[in-house]
Every structure is written in C-alpha cells, then in structure tokens.
C-alpha cells in the first residue's frame, strides 16, 4: 500500500446516513493518480451512495473527504468538477439527438469572435473531438453522427474521453460496463486503461469482478455499507474477488441448492459440479480472514434496515 501523501483523493471513516438507515459506514480508501481503483460490491452494498458522496451529490454525515491532502466540503457536483473530480454516470452522459462533436463540447463550447459576434468555433470543436477521441484510441466514424446511433460502449467511451479532455484528474465511472455485451465492455475497459495511462486516477465501480480484475490496480470490496476488503493487485486473484463479492458461504449454499435442483438434469449437474469445484479451489484468503491494513468490518456492522 502506498503512503497517504501521493493519494489524489482520500476518504477517512466516511459515513452517510439517511434517517435511521446507514447507507455507508466508516469507509476509508485512497485513490492514486495513474491507477485504477475498483469499487466492487453487490447490489445494496452502498456503491451508489459512495459514488454520489465522492462526486459531490451527497455530503457525508461523518468522516473526512480529502483532495490533495486537504479536507473539502463539496456542495454540488460542480464543486467536485472544479477540483477535477468528474463522474460519468451510466445513462446521464449524452444527448442522443445531438451529434458527437456537439455533445463533446456541450456546456464548454470553444468560441471565437467577440461581442454579439462571439460564436461557437465549430471547426475547432470538430477537430478537437476527433483528435481527443483518437488519442483515447476511440475510432469514430463521423463526428456529425448523432450520439443516439452509437453503441452503449462507444457512448461510455466518448463520455470518458470528454471528462479526460476537460481536465478530470479523478474519473469516477459508475458501472460503465453494466449494460454492455462482452465485446462492448472490452472496449470500455480499454479506455479505462488509456485514461489511467494519461495519469488520471480512475475509480471504477462495478459488480463484475471479471471486468474489474484485468484493469484494476487496487480493489476495494464493499459489503453491506462497509469496506469488506482492500487489496492491491498482487494480493489477490480473480477467484478471491469472485468469492468475496458473493460471500464464500453464500456461494456454498447456492451450490448445494443447485445440486438439489439439478439432480434430474445431467447437464445442469455437470455445471454445478464445476461451480462447486471452483468454489473449493479458491484458497482461503488471508486478507479476508484477518484484515491487515485497512479497518475491515464484517456484515454485522452494516445497516440493520
């Protein structure tokens, strides 16, 4: 684990309550430039609340949120943006009927001329769009194309490229691969790596360890509102991640259940046997059993509804 002073953003014992509901509790994590920090968690683990807190939508109820080692109190997403913390939401990214270049610069259009003749520098906008996209390795067909005609993966990639161009130092990606097919997800993962190579600190939120593992440098696993585990890449394997995500015990139960159901179906039985094999094969994790570096709380500390 790296030292605190080169972290771009840091949270210390961050908690967010909604009335009596504890959405996230005691989250401590570090995000470094040029690294991909994966936030993994199943539904209800507190991912959305954490992202919204990081991106300035919510103010934390307790704990500290630091940027460049300084504590900050974000009032809105604009505040976060001003500090270079950009969030790309799954669907809140693009305007489908507008062309690619218009979308790219929406809200930050380059202008030329002055006074009443100040106008959108269309030529420059198109050039930059093309340039920036190809820098990210995104290969667009025609910048005049309406964004609605792009595939989901292309749209996500475009949103990432835009955030990077407009000076994002921290890029928070909310489930960018969730709604995508295998190939499209691969496209987005490639741009995540590109962004990382350009020195951006990427926070990649996902519930899919198969997407997180190849690109992540650092994995934070959320369960029931708390940090369940915090590992760097060399401390963990994909199997561990899968197991921790689902919870080893729960996966075991599932295997048994499936075995009962599958008793009559040879194909299904074989599949279940393979799954059981996989679960057994995954070695017990040192990190999950006795946490070393960050404070790890188990499920019981989560919200009691």
């Amino acid at each position: 684990m790296s030292t605190d002073n080169d972290a771009l953003i840091e949270t210390r014992h961050l908690s967010k309550y909604f009335g009596s509901v504890i959405a996230i509790k005691d989250i401590s994590m570090l995000v470094h430039p040029g690294r991909v920090t994966c936030l993994l968690g199943d539904n209800g683990a507190g991912k959305s609340t954490l992202i919204k807190t990081l991106s300035g939508v919510y103010e934390p109820s307790e704990g500290e949120y630091l940027c460049d080692g300084e504590e900050m109190h974000l009032k809105s997403p604009r505040d976060a943006l001003a500090r270079g913390i950009a969030t790309v939401y799954q669907d809140l990214a693009m305007i489908p009927l507008l062309s690619i270049w218009r979308n790219f610069f929406l809200g930050s259009e380059p202008t030329k001329g002055w006074g009443p003749l100040r106008r959108f520098d269309v030529k420059k906008a198109k050039e930059i769009t093309r340039e920036e996209l190809s820098k990210m390795g995104i290969d667009i067909r025609d910048p005049e194309q309406a964004v609605g005609t792009l595939s989901g993966g292309e749209r996500q990639s475009l949103a990432i490229a835009r955030a990077v161009y407009f000076g994002a130092r921290v890029l928070i990606l909310d489930e960018p691969t969730a709604a995508l097919g295998v190939k499209q997800a691969g496209v987005v993962l490639r741009y995540i790596v590109k962004a990382k190579q350009r020195g951006v600190a990427v926070v990649f939120i996902t519930h899919n360890p198969h997407h997180a593992f190849p690109v992540g440098d650092h994995f934070v696993i959320l369960r029931r509102g708390s940090v369940f585990g915090d590992f760097s890449k060399d401390e963990v394997t994909l199997e561990h991640l899968v197991q921790m995500m689902a919870g080893g015990a729960e996966l075991d139960t599932l295997t048994h259940e499936l075995e009962r159901v599958a008793a009559d179906d040879p194909d299904l039985r074989r599949a279940v046997a393979e799954l059981a094999q996989e679960v057994k094969a995954a070695p017990q994790l040192p990190g999950a059993a006795e946490p070393s570096s960050p404070p790890v709380t188990d499920g019981e500390a989560g919200p009691e509804d």
Binding site: L81, L92, I95, L97, R130, G148
Partner: protein
C-alpha cells in the same frame, strides 16, 4: 496502443459510407417542410392554374401572409427545440397590440395620449413581462409549459379584453396614423415594396432576417448548442454545466418578443388593433414549427424549417382563397398537412436515432 488493423486516419474513415445528397438531406429536419412546400405548390399550381396561382400577385399575397406567422413560428421553434411550448403567444400578440393602441389613444377616449415611440417601448416591456411570467411559472412549478401557457393564454387574452373595455369601452382602436411618430415606424415596419406590380410587405424582410439570425444562433453559437441540449436531455445538459433554466427563460422572452414584434408591425400596417387579434396564432405557429421539423419532445428542429412551415401554411390559405374552394375546407386541409408532417417527422427521427 492496442492492435488495430487500421489506424484512424485524420481525414477519412473507411467505415464512413459515401452518402449521397439525398441521404444527407434525409438527416435534415427541414426535409419534411421542403417536400411539403413542393407538394403544396405543385398541387395549387395545377388546380388553381386558371386563377393565376403562379404569378407575382399571388406570390406576394402568400409571402405577406407567411411573414407574421413565420416570425412567430421561428421563435416558437427555438422554444420547442428547448423542450417547451408557448400557447400564450397569440394572447401576448393581442395584448401588446392593445397596449400600444391604449397608450396612443387620446386621454378623453380612455387612452394615455402618448406618442408612438414610448407606447411601443411600453408594449415591449409589458410583452417581456408576460414572457417572464410564463418562464418563471414553468421553472418554479416544474409543471409542463403546455398547461402553464394554456392558463396564461386565457389570462392574457382576458386582461386585454377587460382592460380595453374598461378604459375605452371598445374592442377595437384605430387612427394610429394620426399619432406623432407614426411615419418613422411605418417606414421600418409598415411599408410595401412594389416589384413587378405586386406589393410585398416589409415584414417579409424582417421574417427573413429573424430566420437567418435564429438559424445562425442555433447552429453557430454556444447558446444554440445549449438550446439543443436543454431540449434533448435536460438532466444531462445540466450535469455538463448548461444553464437550463436561463435558456428556457430567455426563450420564453424570445417568443414574447416575437409576439410583440408582430403586434407592433401589424398595428402600424393596419393603423389599429383589435382585442381578438392573434387568436389561434399560437396553434398556427406550433403547426408551422412542427411541419418544419421540430419534435414535440424537444431537442430537434430548425428555424429555417419553421419559416418554411409558415410558408406552407400561408400557401394553403391563399391557395384555398383564390381557388374559390369553400373556405370551410381550409381547416381540413391544415389538419391533414399537420398530421402528415408529424408522421413523417416521427419516421425521420426513428431513422436518426437508430441508423
């Protein structure tokens, strides 16, 4: 860099099909209006050939009719692209016209006895206030502008009728040409040009100027980009820093200004105003904008299209008048043209959204 078979070249990508002119035209929102214009013109050119549909006099009449509607339609189109409606534009028109007339009417007849310049400024200010009320109500209540401006449609019209009757005990006021300052306004807003024996109103030039200005703003300024963004996906636009509320307020002011402008030039042209002037203009302007390619859901459309839509509207009106077709059929025709345009636009949009 990852292994890609072909480097993306700066000039041309091999996956971009060379699209023909027709294909490119299909992507333009104005296409429906251009096609409609040709169809309607050819239709009347054939059935009204004996009534001189193709000729300077008829052309002038069509353009003179189209100009005031076109000015309204262009403003309405901008607002519709931003995802809102203004149904009160006809009432604001009537309201501004009467404001001018009451201000210039002699004191003993219930007016203020002003000269024309201050009266026009007063009407402008009042019109902008009505626009502000519309915009402010839409923003604050977050109700659909359709319902808000439907309410102000009646409110503003009612105020116009009530105040005029209260002060002057009349529904029409005239004799504007006797008011000091009239000649100045007439030379800019009420004049005719004679070309080959036909009289063209100066409002045609204003119509063209407003259309050009609106088009330039839409496609070549950041405000234009914001208008498209505001209508296309307000939340996404706000998230990237577009001042969505300010855009909407500004456009409600624009439609109110257009209504004022038409009211003023018509008052000057006809040397008077009527409390019912502008009635149903709001629908005609929306029809023109929709025929011109604006989507009712916002985010798509064009000012040139709306101007062409107004031209189609006027052409149908004039065509029916000179053909001698029973005027009762006029509304049927307008209704059919509107439906055809909406169906066509819907088809185009689906094509644009999922090519």
């Amino acid at each position: 860099m990852a292994t890609t078979a072909t480097e993306p070249t700066a000039d041309r990508d091999e996956r971009v099909r060379r699209v023909g002119g027709i294909r490119k035209l299909l992507d333009r929102p104005e296409l429906g209006a251009i096609a409609g214009l040709i169809v309607v013109w050819v239709f009347f050119a054939i059935i009204a050939a004996e009534n001189n549909f193709v000729g300077m006099a008829t052309t002038a009449s069509i353009l003179n009719r189209a100009a005031p509607l076109g000015i309204l339609a262009v403003a309405v189109a901008l607002l519709m692209i931003a995802g809102e409606f203004d149904l009160s534009i006809g009432s604001i028109l009537g309201f501004s016209g009467m404001a001018i007339m009451i201000a210039v009417t002699p004191v003993d007849a219930g007016g203020l006895g002003w000269s024309l310049m201050p009266a026009v400024i007063l009407a402008l200010v009042l019109a902008l206030v009505t626009g502000l009320i519309n915009g402010w109500l839409v923003i604050v209540t977050r109700l659909p502008s359709f319902i808000i401006t439907l309410g102000t449609l009646f409110t503003f019209r009612g105020l116009t009728i009530a105040i005029t009757r209260l002060r002057t005990n009349r529904t029409q006021l005239g004799n504007l040409d006797e008011v000091p300052g009239y000649e100045f306004f007439r030379s800019y807003f009420g004049r005719d040009f004679e070309i080959l024996g036909a009289h063209f109103s100066i409002s045609i030039l204003w119509w063209i100027a407003f259309t050009a200005l609106a088009t330039w703003m839409l496609v070549r300024t950041r405000s234009g980009n914001w208008i498209f963004g505001t209508g296309g996906a307000p939340d996404a636009a706000r998230a990237v820093g577009v001042p969505v509320r300010r855009v909407k307020i500004a456009l409600f002011l624009t439609t109110a200004f257009a209504a004022f402008f038409v009211a003023m030039s018509q008052a000057v042209e006809f040397t008077g105003a009527d409390t019912l002037r502008g009635t149903r203009r709001e629908f005609e302007a929306i029809i023109a904008a929709v025929v011109g390619g604006c989507l009712l859901t916002g985010g798509y459309g064009s000012a040139i299209g709306a101007a062409l839509g107004a031209l189609i509207f006027a052409m149908v009106q004039q065509g029916i008048v000179i053909t001698g077709i029973d005027g009762d059929w006029y509304q049927v025709f307008i209704g059919v043209v509107l439906l055809a345009a909406v169906i066509f636009n819907n088809f185009i949009r689906r094509k644009a959204a999922s090519r």
